[in-house]
Amino acid sequence: MSNSTWNLDPSLESAAQVHIKPQYELFIDGKWQAPLSKTYFDSVNPADESHIAKIAWANDSDVDLAVLAARSAYENVWSKLSGAARGKYLFRIARLMQEKAKELAVLETLDGGKPIRESRDIDIPLACNHFFYYAGWADKLQEAFAGQQISALGVAAQIIPWNFPLLMLAWKIAPALACGNTVVLKPAETTSLTALKFAEICQEAGLPAGVVNIVTGYGDTGAALVGHPNVDKIAFTGSTAVGKQIQKACIGTAKKLTLELGGKSANIILEDAPIDQAVEGVINAIFFNQGHVCCAGSRLFVQESIADRVLEKLKFRLQSIYVGHPLDKNTDIGAVNSKKQLETIERYISLGIAEGAEMYQPDCTLPSKGFYCKPTLFTEVAQSARIAQEEIFGPVLTIHTFRTMEEVVQKANNSPYGLAAGVWTSNGARIFGLSQQLQAGVVWANTYNKFDPASPFGGYKESGFGREGGRHGLSAYLKFSN
């Protein structure tokens, strides 16, 4: 019996299980408050360009109210609670998130375009785990920094990106609250909905009013928050360009700053690597979340002796990568987050071709509506090419070859960024040798894109400073007095 084709049927997760309001206000002082700006913007589903909800656009006065609420909650309530009491709230939030995991996953996918498999299996469970993890630290801070005089900072202004909306919220809010700070958080304009759902969870958890405030809006809202004189701490995850502006805005203030910015991370395959697993690792490194990952392994370095074989295997593997509707359980690559980002990616792809690199895309059909991009490989790429130097933030991989260890270390480090790197080899000594020489905040060995709340994350050079996650993540939210 021969079967010419065996294709999987569509298997769409139901969107009906999510309750979405037609219009969202600002979450300030434990209440939903209409914006003083009186303006709203649309949130769009990138999978089909449909309208999802109207969202309040906070202006300076709205931000002022939110900071005031956070300040008052800090002075009057939150700073007076014991660590154990704060931990109790965090545990409660974590459990509520876990109970609503399915709803949060579907909402994340609807709003942001990432495959439901990822929001269900990676984003939401990790976000819950961050709250569980930092809940545990809340009453053990003194043990974490034995012999040091520590205290909370006060009001933390937090600005998060659109690639992992709820997960980045968890990375920011969980340690801030555990350390005794209150928070004003601004989600990215294209992905506000899970943050607003999180506000509902805070209400359900009985979190004291003003401890968490969510102000939605565009860059101007973020700028107002960063520039507000009454915040003590700024935590930003996003582009290096905006990170530089924020750093300038903080000059001459006492604001404590952490920045987690862009990357152009090197993924290195040595000739003795477990080749099939390395190829799979390359796929995960660059095509995870449509390549919208700050630590994406976007530059692949393959030792020359196995380069042809690796490329052949990558091309074959791309045939069974499904690009399509993000709610389909079989989708591997969903929708690009916004039209603007799709245009950026497409501009880089054209640039790569214009620069003389050789492009490969698999033969797959994309949905007619929505923002989609085929997984893309570039070979014959010069180290000096722009597609090899600049962060594309999309499913685009540049492939380079090398001959010696020395050469690959030089090439991998030859970047203004230094967020992450991957090393693939069966030789343990080479793993340790390379990880010492690579200028990257994280070096993964024989794996890629692995995250855990207990593991610190952050960059070198223009990829930012400060660490999030683990015990290190606590110190970003504490004042050390001696």
């Binding site: 010419s4 298997s11 697993q277």
Partner: protein, 307 residues
Amino acid sequence: MLASVSPLELNAIMANATSIDQIGTLERIARIQARSIKGSAKLQGLRMALSMIDLTTLEGKDTPAKVRQLCFKAQHLHDQAANLPTVAAVCVYPTMVGVAKKALGHSGIKVASVSTAFPSGQAPFELKKLDTLYALDNGADEIDMVISRGRFLAGDYQFVYDEIAAIKELCATIRLKVIFETGELDSLDQVRKISDLAISAGADFIKTSTGKIQPAATLPVVLTMLGAIKDHFDKTGQMIGMKPAGGISSSKLALHHLLMVKEVLGEAWLTNEWYRFGASSLANDLLMQYQKQMTGKYQSATYFSID
């Protein structure tokens, strides 16, 4: 023609076998198992799986009557519903080949015989050859030999190679499946090595297990073997068949095996010419799931005959 190999060539085969990362292998499998196989794809998959079964009885207490029953079942499984294919083969001991051959007549269902002192392989080489010749003389359509695991683990690759090559020479055009008994081979690296070795010695099919040792056909082992088949194909253009045997009793698991074949090797392997399941209880579950998919209702297991 007896395939032969020089010590240098053999060293190269063993040295070139790529290493296998256990954790990465498990992650790849988790991705495949996260796939949702529904609707018409499920029906098509169930039919495919049924057509790939080597219906098996390999027990010391097997009798001609038992083998005849199995052969009857093999010919009538697909009566349960319209458009069902027959199983691919019946797999028995050499002494039962004649019985099975007669019982299956012109049904098109093949008779596969285990050989080379199945399941342990612990017999002198000359006896293994006689064992195989006996099965061939009685009309076996396919031979499932076991390798000498002890020799392999001791590093005597030449011995293992020569044994496979000699049995293949006896089989001539009859297809030879080489059983590794991966449950005795310790690591995925070893599984990869024996796969490369057996393929170069002339195996037409590589097969995981005898069904007598646990674990048997696990997904990591099968994925590793598929990797060897793919690399051989890319290098030479020659297709090698795959037969997981033992431990696959549910339809869901069988469908994930097939999806793995599709993603790792491609659709060309999705026929019983290149892929088989060595199983006995899988067939009934496939039928039950097929009925469920057609009628929306599960039937009691008592409606499916056990033999």
